[in-house]
Symmetry: C2
DNA sequence: TTGTAGGCGTTATCAT
DNA sequence: ATGATAACGCCTACAA
């Protein structure tokens, strides 16, 4: 399939024009081995003149490396995946590092249907390393990742912890982040603090629940199951959860929400119901996305370093790929990065608001 | 570099186990040519047992096709590119189609520094087709795209028009979208309508300006240069532009803004300055991103089908790649998709608001 | 310092 | 219906 109108310059032609062998062309272009400056110049000139660009494909094939860092993303048809702050930030971070290292970024969409087969990406030589995003603790997923680990492929799970496994991962201390959030609410004088959490198949939801409990405990409060709500991180689910909250609004004076989007849904519902702002519970959300500071009132939120998580994960993996020597050392001592989150206080939980 | 702990099953082993030749293994796995059902079963069994996965890399090399659809994105270090609704939506759309076609999606970050060299992606066989996003009309860019066209590579420019060229493109009728927006403001009784536009190197900014002018003209209004502002699509730039607007707020009773983010910045400034909502000009923004309906007041906005643009672009290109036969017909008759935008009216421009 | 030649894992053509 | 084999474009010992 020759799509182009012109024939692509071949290495052979370059060699001829430069009056050297093809091997020499390769060496010059890769800058390996000793070579006469004159030869170098001749080759470079010829290559430039012919507009020769070596086939990355053939090169990959010969070197047995794809040059790609794969990123697994949840595939949710029509779900506007990228709209989520979470993935956007991570991908930006990953992208910047990948670029520095001269790798390419291959997007891989996980499907809910098919059984996961992460290994295949390596077997098929589509990727040299893999970052798994949006993973959740389900039997199939665990199994698939375990296989990756058994085969000692270079991969990293981001923002998800699998209890009982020792998968290499870059995660955030969501328990501590949540503890701080709820503790802040307590110090703001809240006595009955509700919690709108995400699905517990995400370890960060579990962590947040622990942090919530811990903070209540430390503050001498009891956990009231009535004040626990669950959503799926979407705005709509926050909106719906808010309906159930309304009947408790006279007592519930604080609310911790597992992400900004759901919190926005909650605010939307409150506003629609014409609940006066002074009657809102004090709210702290999570993620500190762009949206947090434009809501009314602006949302206090726990800032999560998604961009940095991306850079850290990518850097770690590409380092391995670069010096394939130290590889085994890495695998014997799997990574366990745990980053810190930071509470950003805004009007939604600020005493001065009322 | 053998990263895995186990040896990868080779086609040869499969052939041995199945008691056939390697060629037969290939044929079975690719489902080409006639074959005995029995042979087929034997091979499939052997392959399954050994966990054999053909090397996509070697396959690509042999077939001379990468299997990748490339997407060029603006590279803005640390700029949290993906946070932008615009790219997120398009990538989601592209991703869904790419997946259907069994291709992979390769993200390519353009750099402001280096001279563009889109051709290289093809020459290097990194991609079979290319979608160019976030392009702007600058000499280097024009030149680079022209080369792609001359070489008849399958590519598509999205949401950007190059006047005087005949590049294949998928664009939106921003002139009409803007005309409707401003016309709506006029019908809402606005007499002095400001316009916060984006940089004119984006054709959509030029289009919006035409639409704005056209609407004013049709409504019998004059264009007042004092009411023209320029930002760079960021919230911050909207915030800054708002400062300059404030002195005109007594006369300026309408405002058209080229995207939601800038409009949010404007609202933010107004709010900070404690300008009473009743004194706000009636506002219509652009993009109709998620954020538009959560601001206070909710933003009227021109909805742009970004997701669909992505799907359309990807579908077109992959069709070409699939049936390489019709290729030339395609190139002789370059695509020119022009999608429609749609005004969504909300409180920010609604007469009932005041 | 440079040329020669073998190998990488497929596909595809040509025999059988 | 299946087996043998050239070709794909590059890298890399090894030889000169």
């Amino acid at each position: 399939m020759e799509m182009s109108g012109f024939t692509i310059a071949t290495r052979k032609e370059v060699a001829e024009l430069a009056g050297v062998s093809e091997a020499t062309v390769s060496r010059v272009l890769n800058g390996v081995g000793p070579m006469k400056e004159e030869t170098r110049a001749k080759v470079l000139f010829a290559a430039g003149k012919l507009g020769y660009v070596p086939s990355a494909l053939a090169r990959s094939f010969a070197k047995n490396r794809s040059g790609n860092l794969g990123v697994v993303l949840p595939y949710i048809p029509k779900a506007r995946l990228f709209s989520s702050y979470y993935f956007s930030e991570m991908l930006s971070g990953i992208g910047s590092i990948v670029r520095e290292h001269g790798y390419d970024l291959l997007l891989l969409f996980r499907s809910e249907q098919e059984q996961q087969e992460y290994e295949s990406f390596f077997r098929a030589q589509k990727v040299d390393a893999l970052i798994i995003l949006g993973s959740r603790d389900e039997p199939g997923e665990r199994e698939a990742i375990r296989k990756l680990q058994d085969a000692k492929y270079p991969f990293l799970v981001v923002n998800q912890h699998f209890e009982g496994e020792s998968f290499p991962e870059v995660d955030v201390d969501h328990e501590e982040g949540s503890r701080q959030a709820v503790n802040h609410l307590i110090r703001q004088g809240c006595n009955r603090i509700g919690f709108l959490n995400g699905p517990l198949s995400y370890s960060n939801s579990v962590d947040r629940l622990s942090g919530y409990q811990k903070a209540l405990e430390q503050g001498g409060h009891d956990l009231t199951p009535t004040y626990l709500f669950e959503g799926n991180f979407s705005r709509r689910s926050g909106y719906e959860a808010a309906e159930k909250m309304i009947e408790h609004l006279t007592e519930m004076d604080g609310l911790f929400v597992a992400n900004d989007r759901m919190a926005i849904g909650v605010l939307q519902k409150f506003r629609e119901q014409h609940i006066p702002e002074v009657n809102y519970p004090k709210i702290v959300a999570y993620d500190d996305s762009d949206a947090a500071e434009i809501t009314v009132p602006p949302l206090s939120s726990v800032r999560v370093p998604f961009y940095e998580m991306g850079t850290i994960a990518a850097r770690k993996l590409l380092q391995i790929c670069d010096d394939a020597v130290q590889t085994n050392k890495w695998f014997d001592d799997p990574v366990r990065e745990l980053l810190q989150a930071e509470l950003i206080v805004r009007a939604s939980s600020d005493g001065t608001r009322v």
